[in-house]
Every structure is written in C-alpha cells, then in structure tokens.
Symmetry: C2
Subunit: 223 residues, 2 copies
C-alpha cells in the first residue's frame, strides 16, 4: 500500500461511531450491526468490533453477548449518574488546572462567557450550548492529571450524546450559569485556593443537576 496509514481502522471505526452517537445521527436504541458498519468503512468486522467494545466501556453503547450492540438509552437515572460523576471529577480537574491559568487564559475565558451572555440576548440556545462546552473545556483542559482529564472528557461526551437525543433538561438555568461562570472566573483571577475553585465549580454543576431533579419532581442528589 502506498498511502500512509495515519490511524488504524479500529481507531477510524471508533471515531466514526462515536461521532455519530454524540451528534445524534445514531439515536438511543439504534442497532449497531458490526457487518453494516464494516461495509460502510470498507473494512472487516474485527476492527469494528474492537471499536464497539471501547464505546461500551465508555458507556455510550449497550452490548449484549451474541446479540449485538445498541446505542445506550438515556433516562433520568443515567443523567443523574453522569452528572454526579462530573460533579466530583470536573471540579478536581479545574482546581488542578488552575496553575496553568494565566492572564491571557482569563481574558479568553471572560470573552467566551460574554459571548454566551450575548447568545442569551439573541435566543440562540444551540450556540449557547456549544460555547458552554467550549468554556468548560477551557476550565478543565489543562488539568495535569491525565486520568482525571480523561474522565471529565468522557463525561462530557456522554452529556453531548444525551443532548443530541433531545433529552433536554435545563429549565431556565442558562442565565444563572453565566453568572456562576463569572463568579468562578473572579475567584481564579483573585488567585483563590484550589479548594475554593473546586467548591465553586462543584456548586455550579450541583445547581444544574438539582434544578433538573427539581423540575423532574425527583429528590435532590445526596452529594
């Protein structure tokens, strides 16, 4: 073969299916048939199988032996569990990343948050969600602990998949969200301790989760 193999086929299959789930092209319950995906990618089933198993480990697909894989269903419980995980992991990542947050970083984050505020004026929820994701990536992105960073990213991908399947859950939280971001950035700007940053970040997510739980008539999270 002449072309350079930039990535393995297994990796390609993983990227493809993963992106389609996160995008919403594959809705929850969608049946992932190895042979079909293999044909589409022009490869055999072996690398596709490996990709599916990886996605299963991430919780994006549900796999039953000798039966097959389907895109994982989303319900209140899954949302609760994912949010609880992020509620402890993301603040830790942010606190650990605080060392790398200099003036330039702060300016960028503030600008992004202002853009989010503008999205509210413009009633543009799609752009708001995109920027919100970007904002949080900015927060935890420079976390020096690869395990924690990886867990945060996985959690966000699950959230993205949930949103794509029109599992909406934020009743009027957007405005408070922007304010909480601002407060968090102020803390960072004032060189607050990692513990303070962690607490603020956790409260932010806790507020979102509990707003959802309240709207859904469910009991607030124990943690």
């Amino acid at each position: 073969m002449v072309a350079v193999m930039t990535a393995s086929k297994s990796e390609a299959a993983y990227q493809l299916v993963s992106e389609r789930i996160v995008n919403g092209a594959y809705s929850p319950g969608y049946r992932l048939v190895l042979g079909t995906i293999a044909d589409e990618l022009g490869c055999s089933v072996v690398p596709v199988r490996e990709a599916i198993r990886r996605l299963e480990a991430e919780g994006l697909v549900h796999f039953t032996r000798n039966v097959g894989a389907t895109v994982a269903h989303v319900d209140s419980t899954l949302y609760l569990h994912t949010m609880q995980t992020l509620m402890v992991i993301e603040p830790a990542a942010t606190a650990l990343a605080a060392d790398a947050m200099d003036a330039a970083w702060l300016a960028k984050a503030r600008a992004l948050n202002e853009n989010m505020r503008q999205c509210l004026e413009d009633f543009d929820p799609v752009a708001f969600t995109r920027m919100n994701t970007e904002f949080h990536q900015l927060l935890y992105g420079q976390c020096p602990n690869p395990h924690i960073l990886d867990l945060v990213q996985r959690g966000w991908r699950r959230l993205a998949a949930m949103r794509a399947s029109s599992f909406t859950h934020i009743p009027n939280r957007a405005r408070a969200s922007v304010q909480e971001h601002e407060a968090l950035l102020d803390l960072i700007g004032n060189h607050a301790t990692p513990a303070q940053i962690e607490a603020a970040c956790r409260d932010h997510r806790s507020n979102t989760l509990n707003a959802y739980l309240k709207a859904a008539g469910m009991a607030p999270s124990a943690i």
Copy 2:
C-alpha cells in the same frame, strides 16, 4: 459443545492477565505477547488482543501500535495521579453508599477495623493490606451510581498492581489509618450528612497521599 460457555474467551484472557498484573506475577515492563498468552489459554490471538486493549483503557498496560503491550511502569507520578483520582471518587462513592449502611453493616466494618488493629500488633503487613482493601470495599461497595463505583474499583486495582510491584509508599501510616477508619465509622454511626462523610473519607486518602509525597520529598497535592 457439551460444556456451558460460562464466559467468553476474551473475558477469560482479561481475567487471567488482569489477575497476574494485580498479583505481581507480571511485573511492570513485562512484555505481553499476544501469541504467547493465546497459546497458554488455548485460544487464538483475537480474544487476547481484545483483553489487552481493555487493560490498556484501564491503565494497567501500555500499548504501542505495531510494537506490543507491556505492563505499565509505576512511578511517583502515576501513584499521585491515581491517588488524586481516588481522592475525589472514593469519598463520593462512600457518601452515596451511606444510605445502605445499617447497624449490621456498621458492626461488620468495626470488626474488620479491629482486626486491622490486631494485625498491627502482630506485625502482619500483608494481612493488614488485604483487610484494608476489604474495609474500603465495604465502604464504597454499595454505591448506587455504577459509573462512580466502577471508577473506584479501577483505581483500587491500579493501587493493588502498584503494591504488587513492590512500589511501597506508606511510611508509618497504618496506625493513623485505623484511627481514621474508626472516626469515619463513628460519623456514619451518628448519621452524619453525606457531605461530612465525604469530607472525612477524602481527608483519609489525602493524609495517605501527602504522607507519601512528604517522604518522597515532593510537594503536597494541590487538591
């Protein structure tokens, strides 16, 4: 075939290699050759490959494309990262599991902790470590959030692998550990809030980590 296929060969390979790494039979750096393991298991390389990839996702093995897999090396950084992850995940799991901790559970946990104290009198560090693992499993074991539970278990398995490779790190922490366990059980017995339980559990791990970092001449963890 007459025999019931209790588990797939892929699963069997995963169990085998995983246990050997955790036991220390495979030391860090040990080369995991697909064909060799496949021969030993009496199966082909395909299921072994899948098992190795799973172990890579867990961080127990290091995998390089077209080169092969080796048991992950352990160093201070990996220990720090694993402990930081557990420092946020395990307390959350414990706090969430608190609902399921009744009087019978408490009696069992207290008995176990007393056994650990006895191990100290008998200078039996092996039994102490085993019971310590058991004690912590008791703490987080009934966590109702499967994602968090899974993460805690993975973290503990990594710690076990580190200990097996004689990466010793606890300078005289055992006695304090037993006392902290006791204080934690008192909190639970007095029906403390999840937040209090979480904080106590986190302090316990934080103390262990920082004792290590201090002994190693390293800066304390930011979180």
